[in-house]
Symmetry: C2
Subunit: 225 residues, 2 copies
Amino acid sequence: MPENTPTAPSPRTSVRRLPARARYDRETLEAILDEGLVCHIGFVADGQPFVIPTTYARVGGQLYLHGSAASRMLKALAQGIPVCVTVTLLDGLVLARSAFHHSMNYRSAVVLGVADAVTDPAEKAAALTAIVEHVVPGRSRDARAGSARELAQTLVLRLALTEASAKVRTGPPLDEEEDLGLACWAGVIPLQLTPLGPLPDPKLAAGVPPPAYVSAYRRPSRPAR
Amino acid sequence: MPENTPTAPSPRTSVRRLPARARYDRETLEAILDEGLVCHIGFVADGQPFVIPTTYARVGGQLYLHGSAASRMLKALAQGIPVCVTVTLLDGLVLARSAFHHSMNYRSAVVLGVADAVTDPAEKAAALTAIVEHVVPGRSRDARAGSARELAQTLVLRLALTEASAKVRTGPPLDEEEDLGLACWAGVIPLQLTPLGPLPDPKLAAGVPPPAYVSAYRRPSRPAR
């Protein structure tokens, strides 16, 4: 799928609950995937769904996942079983006057499909670099690149962003008209994933300062609502 | 299951990858569930796994989920299909000297089982109060409680914490001995979900200040590592 083509909803990714919150445009989907650090991978083994957190990176119209070549989950996914990858960004707590209308402001992306193992060495190396860069932009210039042995120990999976949707809630609470007069505070507590001061490795050699991509680390700014 | 009984790993919740990170004690499990705001629910429909974010609350040895009585997902879960509920707290980014040993500090909880619908009106009301209190402690005193009509529009599910495990990574990067001399910064960027200043609802009546549970909102402090 060309990268700028809007993602058309399939019957499976069409948002049915609160469809006004659905977003099917490519830009929204990519912004969520690019800001998130952790995805939740859903897969089925012996009839039981499992949901496992891991990191990832998006490169064009592909999502890359990685892990140990010994991972049960990754080996199962590499067999070509259906997978769901969900990324959720929590932007705020919505306090309505009624308990019923309490909500959250969030942006979430859901990608369905079948992953396959990346076997081409160049694509595999590029995917691993992309994952490091996704989490800490600038880092791959400084870190020692993977050795042949490390690459062999790592399984990289690719999932095309062909069947995906996003869901977004923003803004203030939506109370019933008759509740607006209640003497109860209502509004939003915005939430942001914030870096604290970096903690040097106790084994760090003396005189190695944190680079700017560490000391000034931040994720893309979120709408403060 | 008595609340202080350790959660014994079942064959399905036994952590196989990096088993040193596994935690099966009740205290760790409950602390993760109680700090998290969003869980990811995994379920299967027509052979396809889906992973959907939502909020929840723990009460004793039960996890409560809720949503619209019209929700496809909740109605499917109420039929008694296998479910996986995962809560992940991201505590930091671990920057090793080698790309290969980059990691994340996190705490995650995975709960497997079959949910059932809460039909007892008192348990249902208590579960909804618990969800409001889980997200914003103190809020349920101020918010208008659900009406009979609102309760009827809400489906509440209960999932026992009988088959669950946690996984925790803390601490600095673990580099290869031969990489320790590299002139590359290594350490941890701690991350914390931080509240920004509350945003009053534009429709808020004049002279209603934010209560302390809003202006001083915070989640349980995380270990800064």
